[in-house]
Amino acid sequence: MSDLIKKVTALLNDKTINAFIGYEKGSANRIRAIFVRTEDQVQKLILNASCTQNLTGYLMKHEVKKLGKLGILANVAALRSIMQLASEFQIKDGEVYVLFANADGSLTEFTDFKSIETFLQTTDTGIKSEEQEMIAKLEAMTVNERWLFWNKEFEKCIKCYACRAACPMCYCHRCTTDVNQPQWIPVASHELGNLDYHLMRAMHLAGRCVNCGECATACPMDIPLNLLTYQLISPIKATFDATAGMKADAMYALSTYKPDDKENFII
């Protein structure tokens, strides 16, 4: 019996939690979420290198919340999601029991925000090198080339909103896209509607995205839309010294300011 299974069994038994969100084997070598409440569900829990999905989005789902006190298996991105959600008053301290899977497979438990914050301070939260390269490649292009690149990518988009649904930070009951007075973002999935949607979403995640990559993974049309928000991470860090999801009481980069914020384009 793995440590995880032991631990979760104990948590369920002593009623620390009512349900635990972890991973199970899915179809065709996929890994998927499982909501463990019973003995036999516990046995399905797995933990391996492929368990990368950021499960925190489920903490915001109505029916999952209804399961009672939740425990969750988290990776670094998930910890950061929790911090960010906390800073936006969506999760309260102590509300969720967090088990963190270390690289060596051992588990660390976090029962309060403070300990997550401390942990994150010494953790690598950067984006993957492939993604960095991709961003660099795009940045090296001319503006027009980038326009064409994204035009082609957005053309594929079918506005299924899987990206939004998968993103832990997209928890609004009514997304801007769904607001119809006025209809800021065309509902239609034509070129304009797609561009508007992606620009809008990227801006709304600027400074909030915890670079978990769920959005791009979720996209059935394989659009690298995570690059949009990833690209903003370093300028936000550089100009405002802010990184999303590091502290439970952090101020959002775009709702604060410094009188001497530096820019070079305003005349």
Binding site: W147, M203, I266
Partner: protein
């Protein structure tokens, strides 16, 4: 061929730039008629989506202007706006949208001359770069074309 007359929208705050543009008027300083102003209470009110909407309705250029830092009528609106623009410009640039076409400026109620300069320089610049074809191609009005959104 007729000279290209760019469509430029200016989003300005009520207290500084709008008043500054009023001063340009009272001082009878001339500037190009291509720029039309939409008034906002504060630069803080200017949602980034407003800029997107301007392009997609056919603007070739945009001016966004408000009070100088520390002069905001509401103390901090322009500071928030500035952060927003810093990030939004990054995003636009990364998605291949021409940030050259958006001129941000601080124009106070006393800077009538500066307003005329901002306008004239922006018009000049946009005339040089030409119509915003990339965006026009996907603009709302394309839906009315033959190819429109009908049959894929």
């Amino acid at each position: 061929m007729q000279e290209f007359e760019p469509k430029i929208v200016a989003f300005v705050c009520n207290w500084c730039t709008y008043a500054g543009a009023d001063l340009t008027g009272t001082s009878r300083i001339k500037y190009s008629a291509n720029v039309k102003i939409i008034r906002f209470p504060c630069t803080g009110r200017i949602d980034f989506m407003i800029l997107m909407k301007a392009f997609e309705n056919g603007a070739d250029g945009i001016i966004v202007s408000g009070c100088h830092p520390n002069d905001c009528h509401y103390s901090t609106g322009n500071f928030h706006a500035r952060r927003r623009w810093i990030v939004f410009r990054n995003l636009l640039n990364f998605t291949g949208i021409d940030t050259e076409r958006i001129q941000f400026s601080w124009v106070s109620a006393a800077e009538g001359f500066k307003w005329a300069d901002v306008v004239n320089n922006t018009v000049k610049k946009i005339k040089e770069i030409g119509p915003y074809e990339n965006y026009n191609k996907i603009a709302v009005s394309t839906l009315f074309n033959e190819e429109g959104a009908t049959n894929e």
